[in-house]
């Protein structure tokens, strides 16, 4: 598959170039360089994802020798079948999730931070805890970092993956700084802090990019996202519970467009059975700044029903938008309201 391999090589080169650019920016307070995952080679799942697309286009080309009416009717039939399949799976998944008593359901009274004395949910005995955080631009990243800090627990079975857009150097620096802070807090007991890695994915559309190339870049971006979501973390691949680390348990995003795209890709992967249904739970967290209106991304998540939890940080917002849940001021930190 020529297009896909060249894409990965391109990303690899851009990756290392990015690293070179970033090295001079590392600050005087030396933090250990996090091993940035270089995207070399596609894993099986992403390959399957793209195989479907490629084979259908190949089939289309082959069939182009057919006369027009046959071709059109064939394309339409395939389109209808595929479309029906996707829509049916989508609603089936949502229905299964919303069924009361289903294993998806999380009681709402546990969303708020527990008061002193209550047992925190204990995930230390699980074989794996795998979080994927999608970092966007500027203010989104700042809030996401604070959310991670507020929810952080030092456990050996945790793996954190950060998904960052190529070119977003400030988010990359913030993620590295956070990991360095974590490492400092657990210095000497390296295993306690868990493992982490960073994936850089291509933006769906750069500023000033001509629109006719947009579908291709979207596809490449989707490919990178699929790779980031399904690639086994390197440090875990050889361990006992390695298999449990194959797919993320929770994907967290708080607003940027690439967050929605990655979640959409995850949803599609689930639809096509490439990712099991009880993995890749998605959380969308609305910014603390919004107490009366919801951002566009939030509304998208609500309408499409992709996310398992659409969390808002103000009760007023939860009341206005049905389907969203009040989760407390998770990115504010200093507020104990």
């Amino acid at each position: 598959m020529a297009p896909t391999t060249s894409a990965s090589v391109l990303t690899g080169k851009e990756e290392s170039r990015n690293d070179q650019e970033l090295k001079p920016n590392t600050r005087a307070e030396t933090y250990s360089r996090l091993d940035v995952e270089t995207v070399n080679g596609i894993n099986l799942t992403a390959a399957a994802f793209v195989a479907g697309a490629a084979s259908s286009t190949a089939a289309g080309l082959v069939l182009s020798c057919l006369s027009w009416p046959w071709l059109i009717s064939l394309v339409i039939t395939v389109g209808i079948v595929l479309g029906t399949f996707i829509v049916y799976r989508h609603f089936e998944m949502i229905r299964r999730r919303q069924k009361p008593g289903g294993s998806w359901l999380v009681p709402s009274n546990t969303f708020q931070a527990n008061a002193a004395g209550t047992q925190v949910p204990n995930t230390t005995s699980l074989p794996a805890v795998y979080f994927t955080y999608i970092l966007g631009s500027g203010g989104h990243t700042a809030e996401m970092i604070e959310t991670i800090r507020q929810s952080f627990r030092g456990q050996a079975n945790i793996h954190r993956r950060y998904i960052i857009s190529i070119g977003d150097t400030s988010s990359l620096a913030k993620a590295r700084l956070l990991e360095a802070t974590i490492k400092d807090a657990y210095s000497g007991e390296d295993a306690q802090a868990g493992t982490s890695d960073i994936f850089l994915i291509r933006r769906a559309r750069k500023v000033h990019q001509p629109l006719y190339t947009a579908p291709f870049t979207c596809l490449i971006s989707a490919l990178h996202a699929a790779n980031a979501l399904t690639r086994m973390p390197n440090p875990r691949s050889t361990t006992d519970h390695g298999k449990e680390f194959r797919y993320p348990h929770v994907i967290v995003t708080n607003g940027p467009a690439n967050g929605f795209i990655v979640c959409l890709v995850a949803h599609l992967l689930k639809i096509f059975y490439l990712v099991p249904e009880n993995r890749a739970k998605m959380v969308y967290i609305e910014t603390w700044a919004r107490s009366k209106t919801m951002s566009l991304t939030g509304k998208l998540f609500l309408k499409t029903g992709i996310a398992d939890v659409v969390g808002v940080q103000h009760e007023s917002l939860a009341r206005i938008f049905k389907g969203s849940q009040y989760i407390g001021p998770v990115s504010a930190g200093f507020l104990q309201r």
């Binding site: 359901l105 700044a289 919004r290 998770v330």
Partner: protein, 323 residues
């Protein structure tokens, strides 16, 4: 601090010097500005030139205690200077790192605003200009008279220490103010650091939710909503809030970063619960434990209430019903 004063300012300071603002030590900088015209006029000009040339980048200012006493000082003020030096008020203006905000920059160097700062005993105006740094620099250089020192820079990686310079700490520093664009990251960081905040939404960028945020903050008393054109009122209101407000922003202990990792009782546990949904058996077990704990907690509360008989307020009753 090197100050350039006008007659008006001198008289004001004289009048208010002997007043005691509740609980606050007097700003020593106010004292240094009481200077006679004749002798220090030329030295003031000399100072002016020096300040201008040091405009670019970030300049370290000496603490107030090292300032030279002026001959016009009253004994009262002399005593205060000789006490431990307290850092004076800083007004820190920030436009953020993403977009320019020229209207805010031009407003903070208008004479009305600068005089307001000087009147309120600010001795430093620091401005993070973003992309408009050169333009702002020129504007400052073309000002006829400057009542307050103006430092300026374009961008910085570490904003925290600039915010802290405006943080009111007991016996260390007078509370200043941060005048910020309505970016959520900036706002959250300033509030987290417990620094008095004025939020100025950018009308050109506004997609309604910036003003909404500022309004919300004003109504909860966390910050002051600063409107372009009325920033002097905002500053006055902020100082008022600091003096009498419930947030206690003037006598804080010295800043220490919050503990990391966060103590278990305050952690956000949402993601843990979601992870548990991937393992249904474990989830059921944990939910069961959680229910048991809740029952235990409410039972203990009932016991305590039985031990201490007191009329239950409506709020207590509501709280009990909620649990």
């Amino acid at each position: 601090m090197d100050h350039l004063t006008t007659t008006k300012y001198t008289t004001d300071t004289e009048a208010t010097d002997t007043q005691q603002i509740a609980g606050q030590k007097r700003d020593a900088s106010a004292i240094t500005t009481v200077s006679s015209h004749g002798s220090s006029a030329s030295s003031s000009e000399g100072l002016e030139i020096r300040n201008e040339s040091k405009g670019e980048g970030e300049v370290k200012r000496p603490k107030l205690g090292e300032e030279q006493a002026s001959s016009n000082r009253s004994d009262n003020n002399m005593a205060l200077i000789e006490e431990a030096s307290i850092q004076g008020r800083q007004c820190f203006v920030t436009v953020g790192a993403t977009a320019g905000f020229r209207p805010l920059l031009s407003e903070v160097i208008k004479p009305k605003f600068l005089d307001c700062l000087a009147d309120n005993h600010f001795d430093l105006l620091k401005v993070q200009c973003g992309e408009d740094f050169e333009w702002f620099d020129e504007q400052v250089k073309s000002l006829p008279s400057i009542p307050v020192t103006i430092e300026r820079f374009a961008f910085t990686e570490n904003m925290t220490r600039h915010y802290i310079r405006s943080r009111g700490e007991k016996s260390v520093r007078m509370p200043g103010v941060v005048v910020a664009h309505a970016g959520s990251g900036t706002i959250l960081e300033v509030l987290r650091l417990q620094v008095p905040l004025v939020v100025v939404p950018n009308p050109t960028l506004m997609d309604n939710h910036q003003a909404e945020l500022a309004q919300e903050l004003e109504s909860t008393g966390d910050a002051v909503y600063g409107r372009l054109g009325k920033l002097t009122e905002a500053i006055a209101r902020s100082l008022e809030l600091v003096a009498q407000g419930p947030l206690k922003l003037k006598d804080l202990p010295p800043y220490s970063p919050p503990p990391f990792p966060v103590p278990d009782s305050e952690r956000v546990t949402l993601f843990d619960w979601m992870t548990l949904t991937c393992y249904p058996d474990e989830l059921r077990k944990q939910q069961h434990l959680q229910d048991l704990r809740d029952v235990e907690k409410s039972f203990q509360r009932e016991l305590e209430q039985a031990k201490v008989p007191q009329t239950e307020t409506v709020q207590d009753r509501r709280q009990r019903d909620l649990d």
